[in-house]
């Protein structure tokens, strides 16, 4: 018998970090419930993730013990609330390896974070003395892709309408990859910002960004990455990515709704004009005019979602405790299993990469001509929760000539047993509509 040793320096598969999925599942109270008389099979984490007890306890505990407004009180509760809020900011900075905690701006969600950047461009474009990197006008270009969520399309369309700039975009290949073949024609000296999805919420594709980053640097543009689907599922390091801005949202990463993050390079945030005006974002106010606080406060007008931010800090602690590499590896195994299992279903067509490489645990598919609404309804009757529709990425559906898709998406608590339940459910769908 021959044994093959993996040479030193090559990936040693035994070294992959692992965790006990059943123990993780025990942290999520909702996973115990039934749906329509069946155990819950939740395959919609790309939509929103569930929350572990550790996060729910911190959320309730904040209101029960430390509730006060932040950044404006000298009293004890105010100090505790401020420390908890700023402590969460620090945890999130560490989580994405931000060089400075002041580079983390709390927003409502990714959508608000992208709009914040787009409106900063808009406001800068109205002022001759604004930093030229943020000034847009006719002849300037904004580049996105056909793979974007609507939240990374519409704000840029509106920005281009307001400023007279031109919107351009990367296409998607038949296999669900970003078509970079015309990179040099698309990203040019006219480009002011490139805003791309890191991991597609519909195709599951994880975009390799290094070639694009190099080109963006060459032409002197800025790069924003929509990391809503990547930060929850794989280690994301903003220094390594060499982006200028990234956005992500708390509710997809075991945190609560109503809290999201804009990370921006300190020097860029400092050059950006304010977007929302109000309390907390000022330096001094007279009846004639105001001066503004330094980032991140400049972009956080009004009372922020304090408890939500603190709970997002707890979510980051929870994910870090399990390990993002372990979560990434678990999802890779689940995705490989699911791709194989779905390939066994007659008439099923996957949109996006069909190999578990350069993709995450989000799989969109069509089952023959059966409409996704009907697929989702039958699956729901069996307790299997998937998303159906255009997933706020209608251009992707148009690209593949379908009005909608069915999407199964996984997370750290997803099991192979749940994939089996999905496949059994699809057999039922075929029986009803076949």
């Amino acid at each position: 018998m021959t044994t093959i040793a993996i040479p030193a320096g090559m990936p040693q598969y035994d070294d992959m970090p692992r965790f006990d999925v059943e123990r993780v599942r025990a942290d999520f109270p909702i996973l115990d419930r039934e749906v329509n008389g069946h155990p819950l099979v939740y395959l919609d984490s790309a939509n929103t993730s569930h929350k572990p007890r550790q996060v729910l306890d911190v959320l309730a505990g904040h209101y029960a013990q430390h509730n006060a407004n932040v950044s404006r009180s000298v009293h004890t509760l105010g100090t505790e609330a401020t420390e908890a809020y700023e402590g969460a900011r620090a945890k999130i900075a560490t989580f994405v390896n931000a060089p400075s905690v002041d580079e983390v701006v709390f927003t409502k969600n990714s959508t608000e974070a992208i709009n914040l950047v787009a409106y900063a461009f808009s406001n800068a474009s109205l002022r001759a003395d604004a930093d030229s990197r943020f000034r847009l006008g006719p002849g300037d270009e904004v580049v996105i892709s056909e793979m974007e969520h609507h939240s990374n399309i519409v704000p840029w369309q509106l920005l281009c309408e307001r400023t007279g700039a031109t919107l351009r975009w990367f296409s998607v290949t038949e296999n669900g990859r970003l078509d970079e073949s015309n990179l040099d024609e698309l990203v040019t000296e006219r480009t002011k910002i490139v805003s791309l999805v890191h991991m597609s919420n519909i195709l599951g594709t994880v975009n390799a960004t290094s070639r694009i980053t190099a080109r963006v640097r060459e032409v002197g543009a800025l790069l924003l990455l929509d990391c809503s689907q990547s930060v929850p599922h794989l280690p994301v390091d903003v220094v390594d990515l060499d982006a200028d801005f990234i956005v992500f949202t708390g509710h997809k990463m075991c945190g609560p709704t109503g809290i999201g993050v804009l990370w921006g390079r300190a020097e860029l945030l400092a050059a950006m004009p304010p977007v929302f005006g109000g309390g907390s974002m000022i330096e001094t106010v007279t009846m004639q005019r105001s001066t503004f606080a330094a980032p991140p406060a400049r972009f956080e007008a009004g009372t922020p979602p304090i408890a939500e931010a603190v709970a997002l800090g707890a979510a980051v602690d929870y994910l870090t405790g399990i390990g993002m590499r372990a979560i990434q590896w678990h999802e890779k195994e689940i995705t490989a299993y699911a791709l194989d299992a779905l390939a066994s279903v007659p008439g099923l067509r996957i949109f996006g990469p069909t190999v578990p490489v350069g993709r995450g645990g989000t799989i969109s598919f069509a089952l023959g001509d059966i409409h996704p609404h009907d697929v989702g309804q039958v699956l729901d009757a069996l307790g299997v929760q998937v998303r159906v529709g255009h997933h706020c990425a209608r251009p992707v559906c148009v690209r593949y000539g379908v009005p909608a898709t069915t999407r199964a998406s996984f997370y750290l608590y997803t099991t192979t047993g749940e994939i089996d339940a999905l496949v059994r459910g699809l057999e039922q769908v075929r029986k009803v509509f076949g």
Binding site: D374, G389, H390, P403
Partner: protein
């Protein structure tokens, strides 16, 4: 499975064998013809309904579209119930169908009025699907209004 209330055989039958599908031209040059295209933005379902009328009778109600079984079967039932009907009757049926779908499953449909439309009683218990069932009916209402036989007081009376 608990889906029998939703996917009645009548609905599946209309879905698999749609009645009167396809947008038709009207031979009568005097007829008033208008259409409306409606979209369900949450799922991308689409339907176009075309109404031809001489002012008192709906001489044709034709349609085309793509979408789930509920929306497409509903369009088929709409055609079956309304084409060739007097305008006033048609709006009575329309009202009864909308009432049924808004009833959260508490409305008992009248088969004499709604025909195969009674099969949609179960759909009213699935709030996420009510919009699917109503899509062709809302498009019909718009198309009829554009053809000059909208829900005006004398039509409703």
């Amino acid at each position: 499975m608990q889906l029998d209330g939703l996917y009645q055989d009548i609905i599946l039958d209309h879905y698999k064998h749609p009645q009167g599908r396809g947008l038709r031209d009207c031979a009568d040059p005097q007829a008033r013809v208008a259409e409306a295209h409606h979209v369900n933005p949450t799922c991308g379902d689409e339907v176009t309904v075309r109404v031809a009328t001489d002012g008192s009778v709906l001489t044709d109600v034709s349609y085309d579209g793509m979408g789930c079984s509920i929306s497409q079967a509903s369009a088929s039932v709409l055609h079956e119930l309304l084409h060739g009907r007097a305008v006033a009757d048609a709006f009575g049926v329309h009202e009864a169908f909308v009432e049924l779908m808004s009833g959260r499953g508490q409305v008992t449909p009248d088969e004499d009025v709604l025909g195969d439309g009674v099969a949609f009683a179960g759909v009213a218990r699935y709030p996420a699907r009510v919009k699917c069932a109503l899509l062709p009916w809302m498009a019909f209402k718009d198309a009829a209004a554009r053809a000059g036989v909208g829900a005006s007081p004398e039509v409703k009376a």
